[in-house]
């Protein structure tokens, strides 16, 4: 049934459902099922968006790989990167991905308080990640390693910065979502929104693993 419903337009699926429940289900039931289908449609679109974002990061990684040797006499990756800070960032972001997963689990148990708490923990972890990253960037700029120093640094700041920008946007979005959850509770709409942002968050985590491996690990090796 689920399989079949996915292929139908939301409206038609709603119609089938009403057929099953009998017309006495009336307008209300109709509405709810409709909403459910509508939300699954949006989640599917978000998957497609993530694919486009994948290509975006892939292009940036490609540029980094082409340019990372072109240091123009400036500092190299080995001289610049301070691994303890980066490893801390990595663990913080991985943990935040875990806590966002806990938020989704709490949501499925209809535990609004748990959901909001875990989202808040995720936001805090994400914010500390950003704090550490900005701190790292500022240190580099202080040492005279800016975006205009060399092609290597241009591609480094752009790739890592784009990831950071994604995380920051995700933070704003998550905070907005916490307010919406407080106002509306757990409904099909807010459930979809939580699912989507946790998808986004896991995606950024995966991208970070690539950043960590390709940029930092390979840089200091």
């Amino acid at each position: 049934m689920q399989e079949r419903k996915m292929r139908l337009s939301p409206r038609e699926a709603a119609h089938t459902e009403v057929g099953h429940g009998g017309h006495s289900a009336g307008h209300h039931g109709h509405d709810e099922h409709h909403e459910h289908e509508h939300e699954s449609l949006k989640t599917f679109g978000f998957w497609l968006f993530l694919m486009t974002d994948c290509i975006l990061f892939a292009s940036l990684f490609a540029c980094y790989l082409v340019l990372h040797g072109n240091t123009n006499g400036g500092p190299t990756a080995e001289e610049l990167f301070e691994m303890p800070g980066v490893i801390a960032e990595t663990f913080i972001l991985l943990t935040s991905s875990f806590t966002s997963g806990l938020a989704v689990l709490a949501m499925h148990k209809k535990n609004l308080k748990g959901l909001i708490t875990w989202l808040a923990v995720t936001v805090l972890l994400g914010a500390s990640f950003i704090y550490l990253e900005v701190d790292e960037f500022l240190k580099m700029v202080h040492e005279g390693a800016t975006i205009s120093t060399s092609a290597f640094l241009s591609s480094f700041f752009t790739l890592v910065g784009t990831h950071g920008l994604h995380v920051s946007l995700g933070l704003c979005w998550m905070i907005g979502l916490i307010f919406q959850l407080k106002r509306h509770g757990i409904t099909p709409v807010t459930m979809r929104k939580v699912n989507v942002i946790s998808l986004y968050w896991h995606f950024l985590d995966v991208v970070w693993i690539f950043v960590f491996t390709i940029v930092y690990m390979m840089g200091v090796m």
Partner: protein, 657 residues
């Protein structure tokens, strides 16, 4: 103080060219005229409620088409100015710098602001109707896509009178497009105009994939879907893989220019070749993105006007999907001469030649569809018939160009210019003109005048050959693209003159099209059937123009060409396979002002970045963020049309039958 203002204005506005002063005056007059008309007839509220805030796919489609026709005019004028300058040797009509700007804007406008929106317009109008859906998957996002395109295009066009146009070619190769070689703001207009509208295109790609995969009418299997919808699917799949690359490329170029980064610069370790690679990784798929839907249109038109089922439906589907995939493996053929080496060139030469195979399959499918069909020579069919030989020749010169060693002779010569105009005019433009006249009655409820349409067709078709056939020979004679002047002893004069005459013939063809539209509006004959061509697919089963909700009850689909089969059964006196469905309340999205306002904020931000005015850029970006938050916090975005209203509308629309 006054001197300061004067100095600012002389840099801010483009000055010194009588052509541009003329344009300034006409832009000013047109704006005053529009404002006066809207105020006099008290139409501001109507414009806001019915159009600027609409999320109805049919209206969004119409706005796309209007914008693209205006852009066709602008791009066409650019073309004629260029052709005038090089009609004969030593003409002093345009200065070299102005010529560079014009070939740049001509290319950008024709591909990105004419072909793309015309394509999106037809997607919007046709796809939901053809697959039996009430709207696209995300109507709000759809409206946002349109306004992003619109304001991106406006930003780009503004460079004409404010600040100066870009002049580094339509793909703006680095390092020419870098600050070191293009210090003016024109290049920044290029970056932001395309960037903003590109985000809209990406969103449209996602929107239509979801619409087609998830919102087809009950019973319609993928392999029963009308061919135009298939072509839209293949085009949109290509969009979502190609456009992020464009976004990245433009962003990196912007960082180079704005923050002094070194991605594509000559100094600092930058790599200009990387720009050329990246831009073509988007640019080559882009030309397939615009041509695939045209193939879909030809398939619909040829089946309708031959009164036959499309020949080789499955092979057509596979051919389109294969083209989508192969389009990502050919980009390097645009720069065989730039030193990639024999092995790399050989790979890309072969992938390019492979594209000819699925394309050839399609050509035969169209020919066999017509074979023993009862063909009626309407305007859409004429465009289709003219397309076939034109595209075959264009395709074959393309195969010639793909031979890497030979390309060292053809590269960047007029041979290439003739080739890509032949596939883009003969394929894309003819296709969208066919689509426009074919679906016009569905959009507006009346047909376009056939006689004027045929005049326009013949002028375009003859003009095309007169214009571009000589260019193949000019290319073989050694004339390279983008030369703004040549001397008598080159011997290129006569062929260029012929070519210019052809260009003006196409210009007259365009005027006939405008006349055709105006004439048809004035003397229209209302089509009361909703099916003026005796069509085959679902869009013809409902009244024209379609009501807000498209289908009162969703159609149940049993066959490919379902509407045609249904009509055949009726004619043979067989009972219909469909069981009547009860009308229920219809769920619809509410209008929203956010897409318009958000895109306007993008426009303001883009303008700020172009001039490095943070007092524009920062408020603009904040506005974008606020719009996103407001949208995220609004939960009351839909409503229901009650059954009574649907019944009343249906009775009014069908009562005239």
């Amino acid at each position: 103080m006054l001197d300061n203002i004067k100095e600012f204005a002389s840099e801010f506005f483009v000055t010194g060219d009588p052509l541009i002063y003329g344009a300034d005056v006409s832009i000013g007059l047109a704006m005053i005229a529009i404002i006066t008309v809207l105020t006099y007839f008290k139409k501001w509220g109507w414009l806001w409620r019915e159009w600027l805030t609409t999320v109805d796919h049919k209206r969004v489609g119409i706005m796309y088409i209007i914008a693209s026709i205006l852009m066709l005019f602008r791009g066409g004028v650019d073309a004629l100015l260029m052709r005038t300058q090089i009609a004969l040797p030593d003409i002093q009509f345009l200065e070299a710098e102005h010529y560079n700007q014009i070939f740049t804007t001509h290319g950008v406008i024709m591909i990105l602001f004419m072909a793309m929106p015309l394509m999106f317009g037809l997607f919007n109008i046709v796809v939901p109707l053809q697959i039996g859906a009430r709207d696209v998957a995300y109507p709000f996002l759809n409206s946002l896509s349109f306004w992003m395109f619109f304001f991106g295009a406006m930003l780009f066009n503004m460079s004409f009178v404010i600040g100066g146009s870009p002049d580094a070619g339509w793909l703006s190769y680095a390092p020419l497009s870098e600050l070191s070689h293009s210090p003016g703001v024109g290049q920044d207009f290029y970056i932001w105009g395309i960037q903003i509208s590109g985000i809209g295109s990406l969103a449209t790609g996602i929107n239509f994939i979801v619409t087609i995969l998830k919102m087809r009418a009950p019973g319609m299997k993928l392999m029963q879907m009308p061919m135009f919808s298939w072509s839209v699917l293949s085009s949109c799949v290509t969009i979502i893989f190609a456009f992020p690359i464009l976004t990245v490329t433009l962003a990196l170029l912007f960082l180079d220019r704005y923050l002094g980064a070194h991605f594509f610069t000559l100094d600092g370790g930058g790599n200009p070749m990387m720009y050329v690679n990246l831009i073509w990784m988007w640019g080559h798929p882009e030309v397939y993105i615009v041509v695939l839907p045209a193939f879909g249109i030809f398939s619909e038109v040829v089946a309708t006007f031959s009164k036959k089922k499309l020949f080789g439906y499955k092979s057509m589907v596979f051919a389109m999907m294969i083209i989508s995939v192969l389009s990502f493996f050919t980009w390097l053929h645009h720069f065989f001469t730039m030193g990639s080496g024999a092995d790399v060139n050989a790979f890309f030469a072969i992938t390019t030649m492979l594209i000819a195979i699925p394309t050839g399959v399609k050509i035969f499918n169209w020919l066999f569809t017509m074979f023993r069909g009862r063909i009626t020579f309407t305007t859409p069919m004429l465009w289709t018939l003219a397309f076939i030989p034109c595209f075959v020749i264009g395709g074959m010169t393309g195969v010639l160009l793909s031979v890497a060693p030979a390309d060292f002779q053809f590269h960047n010569s007029y041979f290439l210019i003739a080739h890509f105009h032949q596939v883009l005019i003969g394929g894309v433009a003819f296709g969208y003109f066919a689509g426009l006249s074919y679906w016009w009655p569905k959009m507006f409820g009346f047909k376009l005048n056939e006689k004027l349409g045929k005049w326009a067709f013949w002028l375009w078709n003859i003009g095309f050959y007169v214009c571009f056939m000589p260019q193949y020979f000019l290319g073989l004679d050694g004339m390279t693209r983008r030369v703004s002047e040549y001397s008598w002893d080159m011997g290129w004069g006569p062929l260029n003159l012929v070519s210019t005459i052809g260009g003006f013939l196409m210009g007259i063809g365009f005027l006939f099209q405008v006349w055709q539209i105006a004439h048809s509006i004035k003397f229209m004959e209302r089509d009361t059937t909703g099916d003026p061509w005796n069509g085959r697919t679902l869009e013809w089963s409902i009244p024209s123009p379609a009501p807000l909700y498209n289908f009162a009850t969703l159609p149940q689909v049993k066959d490919q060409d379902d509407w045609w089969e249904d009509k055949q059964r009726k004619q043979q006196g067989l009972p219909s396979l469909k069981t009547p469905q009860p009308i229920e309340p219809i769920h619809m999205p509410k209008n929203s002002a956010i897409p318009f306002i958000k895109s306007l904020c993008w426009f303001v931000a883009g303008f700020g970045f172009v001039f490095d005015w943070l007092f524009f850029a920062i408020p603009g970006m904040i506005g974008v963020l606020i719009c996103m938050l407001v949208r995220s916090f609004s939960y009351d975005t839909d409503y229901y049309i009650p059954v009574d209203e649907v019944k009343r509308t249906e009775a009014a629309l069908r009562g005239t039958n």
